[in-house]
Subunit: 309 residues, 2 copies
């Protein structure tokens, strides 16, 4: 029952995403459709739709524009990230930056941000406050990451702050909005916020692990890119004493760094950290009444943990 | 009376702008304060505050966050524009791009956009719909400009579409929100929208003229930059038959182009076009009841027409 509902909801999210970017300005239309139609796991919309249902919502369509807006924020940041990272491929396809050039990639990212704003406007003040706060934290997290990478000051504490802001904030916002739209009471809202937060942390740690050990073909993008920019899993090394610190320089060969990290135990530590926050996500669901949607939220944790791309 | 009110309102706008960007992330804090404190004419906040008063509003503070949000949109686009234009100076100061580098400039622009969203959230749905629509049109206008420049297809019609979207849209939005916040009737709202639209067109045409004939020191930025990118006043040349078409190539010397344009009569035609839309802005105010604020809206047209920077 719920899986059919969710499937329908996700189809509606795709339609909302596609319709939102039907600009009469060809470059924006084409570049936006390019990145949106290139797929992606749509994890954030799934969080929004499932938390809405788990919180007792009975009209899933009301959550669809908000779920699409979450994916739109994520998509906008990907387009801008690819400019800063000089990435050539994303989801197995050429990046907007590589295909349309920097100017149009920058404008396309801005355009997608304005579409977040348009999709969210009908929800009124509390929802727009939640979403704007998440967007602010996301950009702050990305900036902290760029600053720490530049200064060479990435450590475990900084890494936690970064992934909490740049990734978990949007998962949290989706959960909070889903629960509120469903009219849940504060206990359930808080539970789902905690779920979203920890699922977001899990997602990012696994992402950073895949950057080191993932298969580029399965991933559809270059691996080691995050590592090359001194971010991600390498920060796990000093979270306890069991892994040898790794010193890297900008010029060091990325493959060599990957081998070092694999041998150092940093990846294993990161895997343990992912398992810990994944468990926190599961535990957070305790106050949420049992339902097929709640079960799907559990399954989503497994999916995020076990993915290979 | 009104001029004191407006002065107080503009002080409150400055405070709102500064407070909004007090991030604990140093790079965002510093870069945002750098661009915000570098001045600017604050024309958009003036439009918002004056239309609010002219429409009968009696609590100017309610319009302050919205007025600040308009300036924040504009500021965000300046930061991103300076990346694409490789500009080194802006308002007589080093650009964010030149001082902090591309990555941080891109993130700072994104951050300022998220702050627009935060400042606007309390106003609720209709205002957020107006603002998001204006932001969309702005990015579309900028993209049309970049596309026309790249394809070498800038003509008078395209130029009109571009300045209508990239500049007039925000002036219109400020006027509409100012009038609505004041509780004006639809006739006055429509009149002020038409005023904002035409004032925005005037502002941009004058801006493009100043790019050709302005004094770099008075302007506080490089002149000829827009021209170098095949945009702006040069598009006026084929608006009627009186100016000789100018063919330019990317490699042509900008000073030479400026001299050509001055001699071709394109600048004179642009001045006439500015005068025409300035007059439309004045005429649009006819249904608005007389008041010191209405007089200030007339004065603003003169200010925009006569400025030399």
């Amino acid at each position: 029952m719920d899986s059919k509902l969710i499937a329908e909801g996700l189809v509606a999210v795709e339609a909302a995403l596609t319709n939102a970017v039907n600009s009469d300005v060809k470059a924006l239309h084409d570049a936006s459709h390019h990145i949106i139609s290139s797929g992606g796991k749509r994890i954030r919309p799934q969080v929004a739709l499932l938390t809405y249902l788990a919180a007792g919502g009975d009209d899933l369509q009301t959550a669809v524009p908000m779920a699409a807006a979450l994916e739109m924020v994520h998509t906008a940041t990907l387009v801008h990230d690819d400019i800063n990272d000089h990435s050539l491929t994303r989801r197995g396809q050429i990046t907007v930056h590589a295909k349309w050039g920097r100017t149009f990639a920058l404008l396309t990212g801005d355009y997608l941000f304005t579409k977040v704003y348009e999709l969210m406007a009908p929800y009124g003040t509390p929802y727009n406050a939640i979403m704007s706060d998440a967007c602010i934290r996301l950009v702050e997290g990305e900036t902290l990451q760029a600053a720490a990478a530049k200064a060479g000051t990435m450590d475990a504490e900084t890494y936690k702050t970064i992934i909490s802001r740049k990734t978990a904030s949007l998962f949290e916002a989706g959960s909070e909005m889903g629960a509120r739209l469903a009219g849940a009471d504060q206990t359930v809202i808080d539970a789902l916020i905690a779920y979203g937060h920890n699922l977001g942390l899990t997602f990012q740690i696994v992402d950073d692990i895949l950057d080191i050990v993932g298969d580029p073909e399965t991933m559809g993008k270059d691996v080691g890119l995050d590592l090359a920019q001194h971010r991600g899993v390498m920060a796990a090394e000093d979270s306890d004493g069991s892994a040898a610190p790794i010193t890297t320089t900008e010029s060091e060969d990325v493959q060599e760094m990957i081998a070092q990290l694999r041998d150092s135990g940093a990846v294993d530590i990161a895997r343990m950290q992912a398992a810990t926050v994944a468990n926190r996500a599961r535990t957070a669901l305790e106050p949420v009444p049992d339902s097929p949607a709640k079960q799907a939220l559990f399954d989503l944790v497994d999916l995020v943990m076990d993915r290979d791309s």
